[in-house]
Amino acid sequence: MVRGSSVVTGGSGRRNTLPGFGLTMGLTLTWLSVIILIPLAGLFLKTFELSFAEFANIVTSRRTLNALKISFGLAFAAALVNLVMGSIVVWALVRYRFPGRRIFDAIVDIPFALPTAVAGIALTSLFAQKGWLGAPLAELGIKVAFTPLGIFIAMIFIGIPFVVRTVQPVLIDLDPEIEEAAASLGANRWQTIWRVILPSLIPALLTGFALAFARAVGEYGSVIFIAGNLPNVSEIAPLLIVIRLSEFRYADATAIAVVMLVAAFLIILVVNRLQHWAQMRIPVH
């Protein structure tokens, strides 16, 4: 995700032109350890209270697998939707001047700032069978609240700012001359977008997608209100972890958490590689 940073290798005894390597590196390692690595290591350690058979049993139980499937599957789908819709929102916000543009631009950040429980309750009352949107949808035979569809919508809600805010600065920086160049070479608007603009945005789009996805996988607050939380149907993995904790089955909870952690890590790693590959094709100056 780092674009064109200058890399300094330090500590080899040679004098470095950029001072502070030892200090910043030490702080970085300490900080990351305290904040991220030690808690995660604790998580792994806790699972070792289980034998491998027990561990396998927990994570392959029908309820766990379904919860993981719901969390990852819907998060992925929601991130895809955010990728497409977020790109369109960015395009409109960056490229056109319309009344209320700044207000819309500010609205994008609301899912960042709103307490997730508030968002969940708002969405639930909106999409409940007697809600403003729920009622007309119910007439069409579509039930949103208390179904996986509700989870999906909550995940879209919390993910959209990630796509918009990562792609926006890149689109703003995109030189209008390259579009003019494409036009004067005979490309129509569609060809210009497809062949010139979109490829330039790919690294940013991938970052936005990865962030939206990661956020949706871990989302708890807004989802549990709208989900209905039926085991195997609309129960997300983070909720199952909380349930296990409330039953004092700590090892079970950590086992599920470890699976989520590893899966999320692998997916983000893949997206990062993709991003790196896309970046390599667009070398920085």
Partner: protein, 345 residues
């Protein structure tokens, strides 16, 4: 192809970028639009390309109304000042872009595209860079790739916006020579914009000097240099010595000193324009005198700052003289303009 611009106007808010411009560009010409920034030259180029639209006036290519067509339909090759290469594409794909986006019915097949791109990369002598990305190239190389990309679709006109603007002096010189020989080779009607008089005078067959949205003069490089039509052109091209004078009844006065020179068709407060190399220190007197303030010598010449009293004010001019006539600081010398122009204020 001939390009005809008639009475083009373009405003940006209250600012008149182009103010009634008429220009005819002949087939196969290599024309320079020369002017300071804000003179409207780039706007004019973009209007020809179809990247901007005039508020009034006509643009026609070979007698056809070009304003009825968009940028993509005008068969114009445009080279941007900062090249505008597609960073995510290789050099090869950049050059192939114009060929690939053609409608299927008239698009070349892959082999045809490859052959054409190869041909163009050979033309700009950069075939060995085909697989590189634009950011891996030097400025001069990017410029030439941008040119190859613009030429790929066989445009009828080639337009270049400040083609040498972003290059260092040495590369600039090479590229000037190269562009001129390229034009001789492909002979497509070409227009380039520059603020640098050397670019214009060295490369173009014809130079259009612009200022404040208007054309000041059109002529060959020799004509605009030797016979500037307006005070602006005289001041903008070449180095000029400018002295304030007053013309009454055909006599030229500098302060209260009459000068023994003719002033055809001018009256009232005016400016005397002399090319720096046309101003001599001599024995021949026309009544123009100055005090030597400072002398420095190098090589075969000495350069002197000479203060001329003009009215109540003093104007200091800098002139070069041969060393055989040594100037001393403080002495008063006669100045003699070999050639001069007088323009009314």
């Amino acid at each position: 192809m001939t390009i005809e611009l008639t009475n083009i106007t373009k405003r940006f808010g209250a600012f008149a970028a182009l103010d009634g411009v008429d220009l005819r560009i002949a087939d196969g010409e290599l024309l320079a639009l020369l002017g300071p920034s804000g003179s409207g030259k780039t706007t004019l180029l973009r209007i020809i390309a179809g990247l901007d639209w005039p508020d009034g006036g006509d643009v026609s290519f070979d007698g056809e109304n070009a304003l009825a067509r968009g940028a993509g339909e005008r068969q114009v090759g445009f080279v941007f000042q900062h090249y505008a290469l597609f960073r995510h594409m290789t050099v090869f794909e950049n050059v192939a872009f114009g060929l690939r986006v053609k409608p299927r019915a008239i698009r070349k097949d892959e082999a045809g595209i490859r052959a054409r791109v190869k041909e163009l990369l050979d033309l700009v002598q950069l075939d060995w860079l085909a697989d590189r990305y634009p950011t891996q190239l030097s400025g001069g190389q990017r410029q030439r790739i941008a040119l190859a990309r613009a030429l790929a679709t066989e445009p009828r006109i080639l337009l270049l916006d400040e083609p040498f603007g972003a290059l260092d002096a040495k590369v600039r010189k090479e590229l000037r020579r190269w562009l001129r020989s390229l034009h001789e080779e492909i002979n497509v009607t070409s227009v380039f914009v520059t603020h640098d008089q050397e670019d214009a005078l060295e490369v173009a067959n014809r130079v259009v000097v612009m200022d404040k949205g208007k054309i000041e003069q059109i002529g060959t490089p020799g004509e605009v240099y030797d016979y500037p039509a307006t005070a602006f052109v005289h001041g903008f091209i070449g180095e000029s010595v400018v002295l304030p004078v007053n013309v009454t009844e055909g006599r030229v006065w500098i302060g209260n000193q009459p000068l023994n020179i003719a002033a055809p068709n001018v009256g009232g407060p005016s400016k005397l324009y002399v090319r720096r190399h046309d101003m001599q220190v001599g024995s021949e007197s026309i009544g123009l005198r100055g005090a030597v303030r400072h002398v420095r010598s190098f090589g075969a010449i000495q350069r002197a700052d000479i203060a001329v009293c003009a009215g109540g004010n003093e104007t200091v001019i800098e002139i070069d003289t041969p060393r055989d006539h040594a100037l001393r600081t403080g002495e008063t010398v006669e100045l003699h303009p070999r050639r001069y122009r007088i323009f009314a204020d």
